[in-house]
Symmetry: C2
Subunit: 212 residues, 2 copies
Amino acid sequence: MNKQAASEKPYHHGDLHEKILCSACELLEENTVSSLSLRAVAKKVGVSHTAPYRHFKDKESLLAGIAAVGFDRLSAQLADAVAAFPDDPATQLQEAGHRYVQLALECPQCTQLMFGGILPCDDTYPALRASGDAAFDGLKQIIEDGQASGAFKTGDIELLALTAWSAIHGLSLLLVSGNLPEILSSMIDNRALTSAVTTTMLEGLKAHHSDI
Amino acid sequence: MNKQAASEKPYHHGDLHEKILCSACELLEENTVSSLSLRAVAKKVGVSHTAPYRHFKDKESLLAGIAAVGFDRLSAQLADAVAAFPDDPATQLQEAGHRYVQLALECPQCTQLMFGGILPCDDTYPALRASGDAAFDGLKQIIEDGQASGAFKTGDIELLALTAWSAIHGLSLLLVSGNLPEILSSMIDNRALTSAVTTTMLEGLKAHHSDI
DNA sequence: ACATCTATGTTGCCACTGTCAACATAGATG
DNA sequence: CATCTATGTTGACAGTGGCAACATAGATGT
């Protein structure tokens, strides 16, 4: 039988590629991304410290695999947000923001890995690039629908999507990195913070029919 | 004579504390923040590999010092933006956004260090904490002035400041980390991107006197 | 069935890192 | 002049990523 093209089941071990990726994800969130060691992953899986090199060229390559999974999860969250409020782009966008922030808070280290400039975003890791672009495309789609239905103001879709993304992304990273001043990080719960940001941001995105 | 309380001039070397910090800043931008090594800094300054330990408890402690400098630079930029457009909070905010992004692009690795969750943001490094809070205070002041003059909508100052900060911060980190899709990162120059984001964000912040 | 090949996993090693302990020195203090 | 303390050096340690050499087991060809 031909070996399965995509799934690449390894021979000796059950599915080392998958197990390594999985264990690495778990270990990642137990500490900082910079403190994640290939050797610790190998030990956790129960293989020698160089076994991962048969499945990942590099430590960086393993990290890229984790990050790609993260982007896929993000895309899925965006899709869910859209599905939850059909034909209501404004609410879709707000819900997407909530899920973006929530996901970031659930796996902060993975978020740092995805957006912390640790990995090259060029074509070094095509799968990573593809997953990242797919997530942005999901966001763009919301904007596009909103423009089509007249809910959002007209203008370059990429730029409007960037604006929405920036606001939510900025909030997420500020929360994850802990850079918010005490007043904000202690006083209010995160959902309220997110609502505040997305609401004001939506205000700027909406089509204002009244002349100012 | 009493030794100078704050400046802490070292004895043997000219001013090792300062020289280490300075050289570390330079080396930082030559590579990734995670690839910055204490030993490389020591070698660049021309001292033994443990000399830095007489001036910084840790590697982390040195990084905290660099980050604090970064926050101070950020505060200065905000202050300049305010000074450049007196009595015009909206333009102040836009200018502050430009400077925020520009600074991030000039020293991307320092930005990652400041906001990448590498350093603890609790009271481990009071100077760092103070510098960070000062920067946020500068931003808050702009919002406060804008509310007072009726340019911005009313509401919790902290939350409005957070919104503005999030948008600009998100854009900066997306630029620095290279996570923007090709269309955006190649097609347009960064100043245009920043303008697009700040303009829409300002739209949401402004006081709309017309009922929608 | 047998030999061979290739994908997988292991052992041992290397340079490098952060950090500690022991030692050295020089300027300040008595 | 003796001593103290702040500063700087040397040498060691464990941990890291990664390479080379070796081992093995399933697949393949005859």
